[in-house]
Symmetry: C2
Subunit: 453 residues, 2 copies
């Protein structure tokens, strides 16, 4: 049975274990729905039946007369089975179990989790979790994350969807995306996958119009054969990027204590991902780096890269990485160089093009536009040392306009503190990914090339 | 001839090419000395002889009656030779030539640079540059960087010294360090090294009491034999970390256009560094990552690592990287685990120790303290998902106090936006390096282990 849309766009939500005490998980989640931008009905469920955050609360979902689309369970593990039974009796299509204390704890927890599986099997209810932080949907403001917005920012609406077996790994990526002004469609932390697994989520996201790129952090696959069958189809429709954790012996042991996953052999996973057409990130930073390049930029049609910089050393580092990643760095032709005849004599018109430390927005405009326009290059890496005194803040608009005008991938590199980050954020808000190092920028363009069909 | 101390602690400075126009290089540099915390005398040198930033200016250094310790030359390349002759006649011991337009431009520029070398040879003047941003000394406020403080922050006083052939690569690391609250002793961007080269600088820093770790970005060595002879001695005294750029064919071509360097073979360089005892960073981020771990933490006495986390996924990623880096992750003994008897049953007392998403500062205190105290571990990686609702801000003080109390290396990992960064900054100000990913944190500890004598 496919995942119901009620996980992401429920008309009504019950928070079971809703609490009046700030800092408690059941309080933070209720706050998100009651005080955020969520537009549907909200039912706090709590044995004391008090009003919480101004809303009447109920002893059980069975006491709520109206229909409930989504239930979020945040109570101690032992009573989850009974609560889940009530949700099923209430015919709630979507249930998120945030509570931990299941298979990640060993044999006793595994038994409790098996009980959940038995309860839900054959019903019309689907369960995400247990041992997860659940769902965030930027469009509908469904937000089961128990991390308060004062500590963890939420990203704006965008086209990346992200599934994560780990709540911590997942939510910190949300925090990073939000800080960069990069949008997200759906985020799902799915924990121990007692019912809904990564493959169900992939399948849902493949058919989701708001999602154009799927990123995933996984520790172990629940059903390898099912995954292979479905993921092949998904990867044909949209870019899919996976970070597989627990690839070493010690990492695999840690995964077993974390989400009860059998992590399996690194080689088998990597081989399977390659066969399916899934792009594998080699570390956590890369998962983030790759997701954002697919989110905002068109695919390159070849591997001829132009590097444009105002800092020579960055150009050298970028050229080193470009060669490692097997890019071609063709020299600009005489015809192309003739467009740069007004540049100062000390500018270097090779590849990288070094506009040098007194570059201004106009010099960048000419260099970037002529290179994007030319058939000599398939993609551009624009390194912006924003700190040089001659570079006006209007450089952002120049780059944004050129990126819109030409249908070639443009990736930026900019490193620095508050001044740089402010200008970088504006670029990212407009779909131009910005990386803090030349190496990471080159690898991101390479990721797109790897996905080219 | 050794480098004179006047590059770093001059009693008087002349800025040749000082300008009244904000945005001009000669203005920005003068501003740093005239309006910053520099305590010595400042002489603007400018043919128009006007007052600039309230200071009387002079047509030439020869018109200044008092002694001049340091001259900074920021005029167009063609007139640099004559200006340099005047500096020598004035017996100025230290000269920084910021101007570009020399060997990085090819044959004509090489001739001009050779002229500089001829002028300075056999004199009592030493020259840094040309084609560089020069010197920053946090203690004396010598600051020849032409990037304004509103765009590029300056770090506080610390014990890292950093030499860089590239101005852009160097200054952005200053910007990062400043943002993190990490201090620096001396920064030198040395450009085309017409006179002073990386070996001279290494030798100076080896004897500098304010420097405990040396980081370097280099494109090409000027004199390989001299370097081998001196660097061997330096690396015995202090940790030295190198990032070698221009290691590929295309990167090497870029380096030649940038600082006129012959970059040479990657294997030869790596082999030499290893022989000397220099730690090689494999990318730019690592140079920064490694410098800060040596700056604040003692060396580990062995490879037994404990990972402590409140986010399971981070623990898995850290364990994966620890195994790749050949760390041992011993399980805590029964005796050690008995200290954690008050932890909740769902906490995982293996390695990683997972304090889980409801950890508080007290739980961290017990776990970190008992592990640092125990002979079972040589180093601790403390992963702090600051965003969880139960973790108080006082966690910073807990970690800072424990790091001071026990003489074992403690490295932190924390990822997130403003809330996380604020707490991370406080740790870094107190010498505890914080990395945004578990992988980078593990590699930093490994770097120290690699340096162990």
């Amino acid at each position: 049975m496919a995942i119901p849309k009620e996980f992401f766009s429920p008309e009504s939500v019950a928070i079971i274990g809703a609490s009046r005490h700030p800092g408690k998980i059941g309080h933070e989640i209720l706050w998100n729905f009651a005080r955020g931008f969520y537009k549907g009905k909200v039912f706090p469920i709590n044995p004391s039946s008090e009003r919480i955050l101004g809303l009447p609360s109920y002893k059980s979902v069975l006491n709520v007369k109206e229909k409930i689309d989504l239930a979020i369970i945040a109570v101690r593990a032992e009573i989850v089975p009974n609560i889940l039974k009530e949700c099923i009796r209430k015919k709630i299509p979507a249930v998120v179990i945030v509570s931990g204390g299941f298979s990640e704890l060993g044999p006793a927890g595994k038994l409790l989790e098996a009980e959940l599986q038995k309860i839900v099997a054959g019903t019309n209810t689907r369960v995400i979790g247990p041992n997860c932080v659940g769902v965030f949907d930027a469009k509908t403001s469904v937000d089961t994350l128990f991390l308060s917005k004062s500590r963890l920012l939420r990203p704006p609406v965008g086209n990346i969807s992200f599934i994560s077996q780990s709540g911590a790994v997942g939510t910190t990526i949300l925090d990073w995306l939000a800080e960069s002004g990069i949008g997200i469609s759906k985020f799902i932390s799915y924990g121990n996958q007692a019912d809904v697994d990564e493959t169900d989520l992939l399948e849902y996201l493949a058919n989701d119009r708001d999602t154009t790129v799927i990123a995933a952090y996984i520790e172990g696959l629940k059903d390898g054969k099912k995954f292979m069958r479905i993921a092949k189809k998904v990867a044909k429709k949209k870019p899919v990027i996976f970070l597989k954790a627990g690839k070493t012996k010690q990492g695999s042991q840690a995964a077993s204590s974390h989400t009860g996953s059998l992590a399996g052999s690194a080689e088998i996973y990597s081989g399977a991902f390659k066969q399916i057409g899934i792009l594998e990130a080699s570390n956590w930073e890369e998962l983030f780096d790759f997701a954002k390049v697919f989110s905002g930029q068109p695919m390159p049609s070849g591997n001829k890269l132009i590097i444009i910089t105002d800092g020579g050393g960055f150009g050298v580092l970028a050229a080193d990485e470009a060669e490692k990643q097997k890019f071609m760095l063709p020299m600009p032709s005489a015809k192309l160089k003739s467009k740069f005849k007004n540049f100062p004599s000390y500018a270097s018109l090779k590849n990288p093009i070094d506009l040098t430390g007194d570059a201004d927005a106009e010099r960048y405009k000419i260099a970037v536009e002529e290179c994007l326009k030319s058939i000599e290059f398939d993609a551009a890496l624009v390194i912006l040392l924003f700190q040089v005194p001659t570079l006006e803040k209007s450089i952002d608009d120049v780059i944004i306009n050129l990126s819109r005008k030409y249908k070639k991938p443009l990736v930026a590199c900019a490193a620095g503190s508050h001044y740089t980050q402010k200008l970088a954020r504006k670029l990212e808000e407009h779909g131009i990914p910005v990386y803090p190092t030349p190496e990471r920028a080159v690898k991101a363009i390479k990721a797109m090339l790897g996905f080219k069909k």
